[in-house]
């Protein structure tokens, strides 16, 4: 197990390094001069030259990369060219927002998705399956922006149960925090819940028709034990894979949701950085998101090996 973990860890670090190169080069391949984006309306040649010098934009790209990696290794992610604030601070402020949003959405998706998936599989051919399928289809098809605006109109303006926007840290005021986070979590989690529901249903249908379930039933185990202990546990490998992949989407894909609900998270930070060609912020954000993806993949692999020991043995051989 340790050897397996070490191998995976090493692979992850190499991936991260490669990602940093791609991100660095990719951002600089974007059209649009960051000095111009920064200078905006009033751009004199002197001001542009000073901006380029201040942020080392005139240097060779290899020099710029080496400087970036050197600083990043010491934990210095640079200074935002737009606001002049340290990028690490911006990330430190944005990360909890996005993580909370992702966690709440995930919770919603897991509870609703797995629950509905199990019901749909167990009650195959019954109205419950049909209802679950229709709801999942709607969840998958509704555009995030539309759902967000409709929820705000319904539950923040017409019936003001929740807030339309903004973020209050959970530690400062838990009730206000949830009042602001519920709608975004629904918006972000609904699509994932639908995906999870469909995966759970399909995997459960497979498991329920498998020999070991027939055996368990024949041995006279309770329905609850057969569904929960045998069929569901075996179905979870697929579901965990999907969740792992989707969690990455939750962290990086919160862009639209964060825009609608004005949540100062990663998505909003990324969008602002792209439009202002804020290289320092953009590369730090993309790199952190990539690291999160890689970490999640690693965790998914570890969880696999716990759920299904055959995977671990295969990897260690």
């Amino acid at each position: 197990m340790t050897k397996y973990l070490l191998t995976r860890l090493r692979q992850s670090l190499i991936t991260l390094l490669l990602v940093s190169v791609v991100v660095f080069a990719g951002i600089r391949a974007l059209p649009g001069d960051p000095a111009l984006a920064l200078a905006g309306e009033e751009r004199s040649p002197e001001a542009l030259a000073a901006i380029r010098e201040a942020y080392g934009l005139d240097d060779n790209i290899v020099v710029q990369y080496a400087r970036f990696i050197g600083h990043a290794l010491t934990g210095d992610l640079g200074t935002s060219s737009r606001t002049g604030l340290p990028v690490a601070d911006a990330i430190g402020q944005a990360l909890p927002v996005t993580l909370e949003l992702a966690a709440l959405s995930l919770l919603l998706a897991v509870v609703l998705g797995i629950g509905a998936g199990v019901v749909a599989a167990v009650r195959r051919g019954k109205p419950e399956e049909w209802i679950a399928n229709v709801i999942a289809l709607i969840g998958l098809s509704i555009p995030t922006f539309w759902l967000g605006i409709v929820l705000v109109l319904g539950f923040a303006i017409a019936v003001p149960v929740f807030a339309a926007s903004g973020y209050v840290p959970f530690g400062t005021d838990p009730v206000d925090n949830l009042r602001r986070m519920v709608l975004p979590a629904i918006v972000l989690g609904s699509g994932l819940a639908a995906v999870v529901m469909r995966q759970t249903r399909a995997a459960m249908l497979d498991s329920l028709s498998a020999d070991y379930v027939r055996t368990a039933r024949a041995k006279g185990l309770s329905k609850r034990s057969v569904v929960g202990g045998h069929a569901l546990r075996n179905s979870l490998v697929t579901v965990v894979t999907v969740l792992g992949l989707q969690l990455g989407h939750l962290i990086s894909g919160a862009v639209v949701t964060e825009q609608i609900f004005v949540l100062p998270g990663f998505g909003k930070l990324t969008i602002d950085a792209v439009f202002t060609r804020d290289y320092a912020t953009l590369q730090a954000v993309v790199l952190c998101t990539s690291a999160a993806y890689i970490l999640i993949n690693l965790l998914v692999d570890v969880v696999y090996s716990v759920i299904d020991p055959r995977i671990r043995l295969g990897g260690a051989r």
């Binding site: 059209p31 009033e42 004199s44 000073a50 911006a90 339309a164 903004g166 909003k268 602002d272 439009f275």
Partner: protein
């Protein structure tokens, strides 16, 4: 059906009742307010650096209006009035020495005193700091010195009339020398000026928090405990938050959102005409990039002024305004707003009218093969997209085949500055002094002359406008300049935006002037 009808008619009714507000101008609300409370103001983007020397954005100016006063300000009518200065500046007979008095006994938010020395420190920093966005504006100033505790003397290379207007903007903001010394480059994270509110914190992309400053000389007039500025780029989202009460003020609202806000009894509208302009720039000689002398460009629009004139004659400014902006902006045909207190420009009704027959005739005379293919670069906003589509339809009738290329803002700047375009949408938020709206754009090789325009006559008028102090003569100069620019058909001015600010009705005392800034000094919640 009945429900739909009722809601439709009630919507129309409230639209009509507020329609007078849309047509007219409303800059202030003088209802009495109570003390206390925090105001949340939505901006349409996140401000850049909160350092008056380095700041570039219009939204940043709105935040400064809450915490950094200037030597001069403008009043409701756009007239320059003293703010931190005790009186208007005194200019010597030769126009090359300007003396100004600073108000006595004022304190910065960090508690230190404002005096002539602080003004000198700030002005020198604005002029000399590498990367300063104020450098060009203060370039004609050769020396700045304190000649007494409250007296500052500036010497100029040549007479420079726009100086007072410049000092009524960020170049006139005075920063605490103690804070500058303490924080240096990091002043942007700890700005300290004289103002009704002082800086508390900034969370990038989320909020800028200010609270009432007890050191402010007019603290009695300040009713709010604090102000929070929140960047919310999407107009729909801003409106939803105004409706839900999470926000009290929405800055720079688009016409569509304003129309929609007017159906809401809880909301009120402020508006003032802006000093800026929006239009399209035609590439007539930008072959080497910005700041370089114009070169020869072999396109029909660059070669022949008749083609450009035909293009302009094919455009109907009124229809554009009606179709894209519900008639809520103002048609324009010159760089200087008719609202300008100094040398007012052309009125909308005096703009040239559409004449398709003449446009066709001109194209024929110029000998171009129609339809003439031209590409228009626009930014990616829905509004600019609609402007492009309306223009496309209009000029088609005259024989132009206009294709649209929506281009993301930073990319568009790079490409148009480099001269890589036919026509692009070009706009400016406007400055108080007419010089700020013409010199950088229209002067040969000017810092923002992306059109490649090079006209010695225009250059001469720009230079004269900067040096002649007599207001009547200045008006003549800028009228002549406008005429020349119109004849060149290189920058085609189309409309002027209006500053639309939507606020909840329980807020009074905010002020929206022609410079587009929301002033919150006297704002508060109604009793």
């Amino acid at each position: 059906m009945a429900v739909a009808l009722v809601s439709l008619t009630s919507g129309c009714a409230s639209l009509q009742s507020s329609a007078t507000e849309v047509g007219g101008v409303r800059k202030t609300d003088d209802r009495s307010v109570r003390d206390g409370g925090t105001l949340t103001v939505a901006l349409n983007s996140d401000p850049d650096k909160l350092d008056p020397t380095l700041a570039q954005t219009l939204v940043g100016r709105t935040v400064f209006a809450g915490m950094c006063e200037k030597l001069y300000d403008i009043d409701e009518d756009g007239v320059v009035v003293p703010q931190l200065a005790a009186a208007l500046p005194v200019t010597s007979a030769d126009g090359r020495t300007v003396t100004l008095k600073v108000r006595h006994g004022l304190k910065f938010s960090d508690g230190t005193r404002l005096g002539a020395a602080a003004v000198v420190t700030s002005l020198l920093r604005h002029r000399d700091l590498p990367g300063s966005a104020r450098g060009t504006e203060l370039a004609p100033v050769t020396s700045i010195e304190a000649t007494g505790p409250d007296t500052v003397r500036m010497r100029l290379k040549q007479p420079y009339v726009p100086l007072t207007g410049v000092l009524a903007d960020r170049a006139g903001m005075v920063m605490s020398p103690a804070a500058l010394k303490k924080y240096g480059k990091n002043f942007t994270n700890h700005p300290s000026c004289v103002g009704p509110f002082r800086f508390v914190e900034r969370v990038g992309g989320d909020r800028i928090v200010l609270k009432k400053d007890p050191n402010y000389y007019d603290a009695d007039k300040v009713h709010l405990d604090g102000v929070v500025y929140k960047p919310i780029p999407d107009g729909n989202v801003r409106l939803a938050n105004l409706r839900s009460g999470d926000l009290q003020v929405g800055d720079q609202m688009g016409p569509v959102d304003v129309q929609s806000a007017l159906t809401e009894p809880k909301l009120q509208l402020f508006n003032s005409p802006s000093l800026g302009y929006q239009g399209i720039g035609l590439n007539v000689g930008n072959v080497k990039g910005l700041g370089q002398p114009p070169g020869k460009l072999d396109t029909p629009i660059a070669r022949d002024v008749r083609v450009r004139e035909a293009f302009e004659l094919a455009i109907d400014r009124d229809t554009l305004n009606k179709v894209v902006f519900q008639g809520m902006y103002e048609p324009a045909c010159g760089p200087i707003s008719p609202q300008s207190a100094i040398a007012p420009g052309t009125k909308p009704e005096d703009c040239p009218k559409r004449d398709v027959a003449k446009a066709r005739k001109l194209l024929k005379e110029a000998g171009v093969k129609t339809p003439l293919k031209i590409e228009l670069k626009t930014s990616t906003t829905p509004e600019q997209g609609r402007v492009g589509q309306v223009l496309q339809a209009m000029v088609k009738e005259a024989g132009f085949d206009l294709s649209l290329r929506p281009t993301e803002y930073a990319t568009m700047l790079s490409e148009t500055d480099a001269g890589n375009y036919d026509v692009f949408t070009s706009g400016w938020s406007g400055r108080l002094d007419p010089d700020g709206n013409v010199s950088n754009f229209l002067k040969t090789a000017g810092a923002m002359n992306a059109y490649g325009l090079g006209d010695p006559g225009i250059d001469r008028l720009i230079a004269e406008g900067r040096t002649v102090a007599d207001p009547a003569r200045r008006t003549e100069i800028y009228d002549e300049l406008t005429e020349r620019v119109q004849d060149a058909h290189t920058m085609i001015y189309l409309y002027r935006q209006k500053n639309y600010v939507v606020a909840t009705k329980d807020v009074a005392g905010i002020r929206v002037y022609g410079d587009g800034l929301v002033r919150v000094t006297t704002a508060g919640y109604t009793r």
